[in-house]
Symmetry: D2
Subunit: 309 residues, 4 copies
């Protein structure tokens, strides 16, 4: 009934002007570049989209702009996590009405697994007609979901079609969870793609994450799907320095936006306060890392690489 | 420049209908009863007001209803904590425009003390013309503020006029913090008034908290202010069984709303999901506790006690 | 097979000289006074016994001294929590060999419920011939046990005979857990007896905790057991100011030791570093609280009250 | 007065027999191989040495065996973290008496920065004659140290000669902390060397960590020190797949021990319970990763590579 997701879903950055206001022109440009990179779908209003720092009105506007720009070319998943069930439902219904293909929802802050958490997702599932992507990412809400806890949520809530699993060690936890859920759901990785190859080895059906070079994730995924494990590994290991560098906890988003700025995808690297600020040395290190991996040269025109791969 | 708060500020419950929608009639009734109880001010959209489970639109409506009902009889503080600085500023400016006498703001989720937290409050203070009540309550955001961290925020941000200190042991921490801040700010307690007497002994200038019998907090505070320590102690210790019972972590809000319902202050005890649900035994224990403390009899007409005390 | 515990088990403070070394004379005196208070058992090396700040050799010595002094008059439970399973087993076997009636064990630091935690307790249970008291107290190890998680541990580990449940709200959680475990185990409260009456209402079979006036806990328990609910309530509510004051998180142990010193039960109130230090005001407040509750007068000769009740 | 550490200090695994008992023969072999790899020093009883799962007697034995085997060829640092100050001092004095060149100490569990934490280190520093390596690793004790908090500890405690900084993002935090401490101390990285190159860029004076191929860390460090940045980068990026794979949170130690077993450095990959267990797929992935990086071939004889580099 609910189609599980597969492939590379890119978590979109939310671009801001230097004064912190929404930069709609950059947002449109970023959407175009992301589609050109060959992604299977787009996710807006994730943690990496700074959703938690937007007002309800700004969130609505981001979805509007993205929906208009995408124009149905790829499915769009909307993050609608809230601390209350009614508010989560309201945001999710609104997303559905605006054309979302699914919603991505993490447990409310500090609401550990148990009957109340299950009820939260059950009510949400019954209130909407699109699938839920269950997000497992402890740093954002203080909630740890064991493989068994995720399997029980999946069993209780038919609308959960996909799990975005981001608590380390992701490969081993993906394998453990799939043993319990079977193919009722798909599991995709995240964490900026840092463990993507091993997540695929463990049975992941793709990844839902941000990375300033989505075409790299696409190329890895396509090679993997084509049965070309060596090609997937080669692409992954070649990009690993950049994946690790951008994947640094707490400052990763600032590195990603700076890289997107350098690529011309967005006008400013602004991260809304409170957020990471990069020092000179990190900016220089970024240059070295990208040079080392050959990313600026090989991928200067967005999308070129993925179509060539 | 910014007037520190003093006295009993009642954190208002947000009443809901059984279906979870806002019960405006009960909200108005609760405001009237709270003013009749003799409070020095009212605080809306606190954690105990389930602010984190409301949409932006619902929050706005709560403030509107409360402002209309209060009609300037007492100052109203509005909770405007958000995870982003811009969103906190937007909510705070809106509250100011609607007549708030101040805003109550806790640190963003997991943003520990340091330059970024200071900057959060500094920007907020510069963006509004009303004072900030700094809220210290780790369970809601995972942030622990040492006395020194609070003193440094106070020093850096002139707009912080009052600290609502709720991390235990509150009396000792109030004393330690006042040693560092001097009389630049006032400190008020919270935690449902459970440690109120000792907080006053430690130098607190009142309390900002919810309790189903605000007139009891008022009576304790007035006795204390009048130099009647024995009277304050007698009132506090007499109410202690109810303060401890309602002050139970995690289920306290459900006990408070049930008590308010029994008193006729609100129509339904509904707590929005996810939230505590009381079992039969807790409901019976509540009856016993209230009987023991004589609260239902002594305080059956709201406000009668405080004017008589 | 394993006899569940019932009644009042007093968690013993570990007395130190001002230089931090073990004060064996005070330890013997404290044991005598505790037995005289009418307790059903004694627990050593709990968190409140500062077990985590002792060396293995010191822990051994504390158990030796207590065993010698008790001389079989009451059962002695020994805290043997360690972060490793082998080390927990080694400490528990040693305790058993020294005459312990049971061991009290909390989950290893940060080891959340799951197969590994179950295995920890299963191995321990198979390695010893005395029952396990499962300790549920998140502040000490960062582990939260839901009622279901506790019930599953109980089902998997026959040696768990009793749960010491200390995560709030204790009364409601005791009732929820007993619904799942039936009478396979007993559950006792803790937290300094602060919620003792409500814990008994919820089905607790006693309490295992420290409190500077164990005879008060004994009197409440005996009244309750005798079916005298009003008598139990009267004793509990009369003592509540002291229970709440001593029950303050983080500084409670220092208050307890100071009270024990004032009663002549131990020579020095020394708490090992790092540990709470009381300011003048808290010391004065303690005097007022004890006077208010009548504890110094009513209980000046230890044991007098419990035998009279 | 206290000489700050520099270079590669290898955190030694503690080898066990399949039944969990200490495998002294493997321990001696591992020490020999580690010295042959060219390390500047050895650290025993770290978290990666499973120190927290050993008894005091076992810890003593590990130090004895290591000291005997090392025989003064390289300095040995001993982990002596305990939750109490007296116990930390006792363990540290014992380590000093046994020939330790320094002690590695993390804050006691949940003791956040403040006067009590400072006092803990101050007393330790005054009680011993060897330097302290301050360990910053939140997952093990729940304590987060900001750069300023570390700088204040360094200022207050002359015995702190080195910081082992392991809270991400390590490169940026190393730079921030060095700005505050100047060259009063050195800072070394950890985390299995996963961010080693960027830590060096940020000013780190080496690394103190475990990795199954310590000669790789040595080669990176020596190239860096010789001013050969390209050589350091080449070695680091070539090893990155293995560094990332072994660096996986929670299961990294099991991967390391399995790798050490495959290399013949230890007889069994046993990790003491509770500890990670690897599934088949992770074992296979390990084989692929090592093949990809060429580590088994290039480094089959321990020490060969570092002497060649």
């Amino acid at each position: 009934m609910y189609e599980p997701l597969r492939g590379v879903y890119n978590i979109l950055s939310t671009p801001f002007h230097p004064d912190g206001s929404l930069d709609e022109a950059s947002l449109r440009r970023l959407v175009e570049a992301t589609i050109a990179a060959g992604v299977d779908g787009i996710t807006v209003l994730g943690v990496a989209g700074e959703a938690q720092k937007l007002t309800d009105a700004e969130r609505r506007r981001v979805v509007e702009v993205v929906m208009e720009t995408v124009g149905g070319r790829v499915p769009v998943i909307v993050g609608t996590s809230r601390d209350g069930t009614d508010a989560t439902i309201a945001a999710s219904r609104e997303a559905e009405a605006m054309g979302a293909a699914g919603v991505m929802v993490a447990p409310p802050t500090f609401l550990q697994p148990g009957p109340a958490l299950t009820e939260h997702f059950r009510r949400l599932g019954e209130a909407i007609g699109i699938p839920i992507v269950l997000q497992d990412y402890p740093p954002v809400n203080g909630v740890t979901l064991s493989p068994r806890a995720m399997a029980e949520l999946v069993e209780a809530v038919p609308a959960i079609a996909t799990i975005k699993l981001e608590d380390t060690p992701t490969p081993q936890r993906i394998a453990q969870t799939l043993k319990l859920t079977g193919d009722r759901v798909t599991i995709v990785g995240g964490l900026g793609g840092m463990y993507l190859l091993d997540e695929l080895r463990a049975g992941a059906s793709g990844t839902m994450t941000g990375f300033a070079y989505p075409e790299v994730l696409v190329a890895i995924w396509r090679a993997w799907q084509a049965g070309d494990r060596a090609g997937a590994a080669e692409r992954y290991y070649r990009a690993l320095p950049a994946l690790v560098f951008e994947g640094q906890p707490r400052i990763g988003l600032a590195i990603r936006k700076e890289t997107q700025r350098r690529r011309g995808l967005i006008a400013h690297a602004t991260v809304r306060h409170p957020g990471p600020v990069l020092d000179e040395q990190t900016l220089e290190a970024l240059t070295e890392v990208l040079e080392w991996t050959g990313l600026p040269a090989a991928y200067d025109r967005v999308g070129a690489q993925s179509s060539a791969s």
